[in-house]
């Protein structure tokens, strides 16, 4: 079942269109930086973007910083929202269920497929932006990359920290995927489910900017997304990364269970 869902995702032109968009934005950024040589001032703009002019090996991280706040979660919302509601719209849901495919089984396969998409998207973005960084932007200093704390990271250090950061970004999308899947079982419309999820993301972002909502901040879906930056401090600042993991796992558990509870007993009468 999961294999079939993966094949369906890979063979869908839309998957590649979305990945293309995810790659296009950092590419545009890389070209603009290379042409103008104008980085944001240190401490402003997306993380790492000011550093990449002098050190192109950091560009994969800068690229993730560029797509993470908006583009990637929207892509996940669209795919996750489509998971059940999309099958319902084409009418194929009922034929899957009478095949028979167990409802829980289908839900898990859909969730795993969205995760696989995130993995694929993040890897493609990282690979392409790595190449762009090497070709278009500054060469790494011979002494090694300078960490955010000012110390020097060896090439090896940088590699595993980057891998860790990629993993963290993927986990950050789990919460979004679960919320989208839940809305997807709720709504008969894939667009409706995606919009609902994007609504949650926007609400989370708005509340993050609001001091009056400070008590809620640690529980917000988007709160710790950019904590992967902390992996490049020396020593690594684990606090927010760990909190981020806990929040994502919390969202994943709650919304997957809600999706399961709703879908398990739902009348399929599309």
């Amino acid at each position: 079942m999961i294999v079939v869902e993966l094949i369906k995702m890979i063979r869908r032109p839309r998957t590649w269109l979305i990945i293309g968009m995810l790659v296009a934005l950092p590419t545009l950024v890389a070209i603009l930086l290379a042409v103008t040589d104008l980085g944001p001032r240190p401490g402003t703009g997306p993380p790492f973007l000011s550093a990449v002019l002098s050190d192109g090996t950091l560009f994969p991280l800068a690229a993730l910083g560029v797509v993470l706040p908006l583009l990637l979660p929207i892509a996940v919302a669209v795919l996750g929202g489509d998971a059940i509601a999309g099958e319902s719209e084409t009418g194929t849901l009922r034929y899957l269920l009478v095949r028979p495919v167990g409802r829980t089984h289908l839900l898990l396969a859909k969730l795993l497929t969205v995760v696989a998409f995130v993995l694929l998207a993040v890897l493609v973005v990282a690979a392409v932006s790595y190449a762009e960084g090497r070709l278009l932007l500054g060469k790494a200093p011979a002494t090694g990359t300078v960490s955010l704390s000012g110390s020097t990271l060896t090439q090896q250090d940088l590699t595993w920290r980057t891998a860790l950061a990629l993993g963290y970004v993927i986990i950050c999308m789990l919460g979004v995927a679960a919320v989208a899947l839940f809305f997807s079982t709720l709504s008969g419309s894939a667009i409706g489910a995606a919009l609902g999820t994007i609504g949650v993301l926007i609400a989370s972002t708005v509340l993050l900017g609001l001091d009056a909502a400070e008590a809620l901040h640690p529980f917000l879906l988007t709160r710790y997304w950019l904590a992967f930056v902390d992996l490049f401090r020396d020593p690594i600042l684990w606090r927010d990364v760990v909190r981020g993991l806990v929040v994502q796992l919390g969202y994943l558990t709650v919304f997957t269970l809600a999706a399961w509870a709703n879908f398990g007993t739902k009348d399929i009468d599309d």
């Binding site: 084409t90 009418g91 899957l96 009478v98 095949r99 028979p100 009468d269």
Partner: protein, 305 residues
């Protein structure tokens, strides 16, 4: 399967009911479909046919009552039951960007009873052949006509050679020739032992194919009977004549009912009756044994209900 074989029931529901709020979409339905039947499930649009079909397939959960398919309770036993059931629910559906055979391959691969790769291709080819689609056609389903989509839906239902076919409006979107082809195919499958439960709003379709008829109206099963029993001779003779008054006067007590230009008469032999009427100088346009059409029977049942 064993229990189904014991009492011969392939589908059996008891007081099957589905309520949506106040609306009783399906209301205390007791269906009985036996092995080898071609069961025509009739009813106007919105009478609850599709909801009943969906309950049989475990897509919609009944509010109360029970449904057994192949002798096992649905939806509890769907994992055992559904692999032996082929179905077309409301309308066919396929992924529009993939070809017909890719769609069938994906559908086959999703089940735990998927066929080995080598067999899958042959199965798909056979199923597409059966319904009159070209297995070599690589065009995406997006480009299919409605008739082709319907055929693809049927191919999907037939692919696993089910013992029971549950088909909701199988001739939707087909041209008259297509309807004939599919009807022939279904009757052939039935002759080979497949039980067919066919829901339709087309009386003619049911009259042509079915051995049994069930009629649903406003969620209630108002008629369930063997078709040949319903259509058996009535012992009445229909007489069409312009001299309707004189004729009914002549025949007196044996007249069953009088219409605008037609009398129904209790008589054993139309030829004798004809000779008598003509001898009395009554002009007869048409005379013959009276059989009720399915349409009349259904209308009568609906008026009673």
């Amino acid at each position: 399967m064993n229990t189904a074989a014991e009492n011969g029931h392939v589908i059996q529901t008891r007081a099957l009911t589905k309520r949506y709020g106040e609306l009783r979409a399906v209301d205390g339905v007791n269906l009985e479909v036996r092995a080898g039947d071609v069961y025509g499930f009739l009813g106007a649009n919105g009478s609850g046919k599709t909801t009943t079909v969906r309950m049989l397939l475990g897509l919609v959960l009944p509010t109360s009552g029970e449904a057994k398919v192949l002798g096992q309770p649905m939806p509890t036993a769907r994992r055992q039951v559904l692999p032996q059931v082929g179905s077309l629910v409301e309308s066919p559906a396929a992924y529009p960007h993939l070809s017909g055979s890719s769609n069938l391959a994906l559908l086959d691969a999703t089940g735990s009873d998927r066929s080995p790769r080598s067999e899958r291709r042959a199965k798909i080819r056979d199923a597409l052949d059966q319904v009159g689609l070209d297995p070599a056609d690589r065009r995406p389903v997006r480009t299919y006509s409605q008739g082709m989509r319907q055929r693809l839906g049927l191919a999907a239902a037939l692919m696993r050679r089910p013992t029971l076919l549950i088909l909701d409006e199988p001739s939707n979107g087909l041209d008259p020739q297509g309807i004939q082809e599919i009807r022939r195919l279904l009757l052939q499958l039935n002759a080979e032992g497949t039980t067919i439960f066919l829901s339709s709003h087309l009386l003619a379709e049911v009259e042509h194919m079915c051995t049994h008829v069930g009629v649903l109206r406003d969620g209630r099963l108002i008629l369930q009977e063997r078709l040949d029993a319903l259509l058996r001779p009535t012992g009445l003779v229909a007489v069409r004549t312009p001299d309707i008054d004189r004729c009914s006067e002549l025949l007196g007590a044996v007249v069953d009912s009088v219409g605008d230009d037609r009398l129904l008469v209790r008589a054993d032999d139309p030829a004798d009756l004809n000779a008598y009427l003509v001898g009395e100088g009554v002009r007869v346009d048409e005379i013959g044994p009276y059989r009720r059409s399915l349409e009349e029977i259904v209308l009568e049942a609906e008026t009673r209900a």
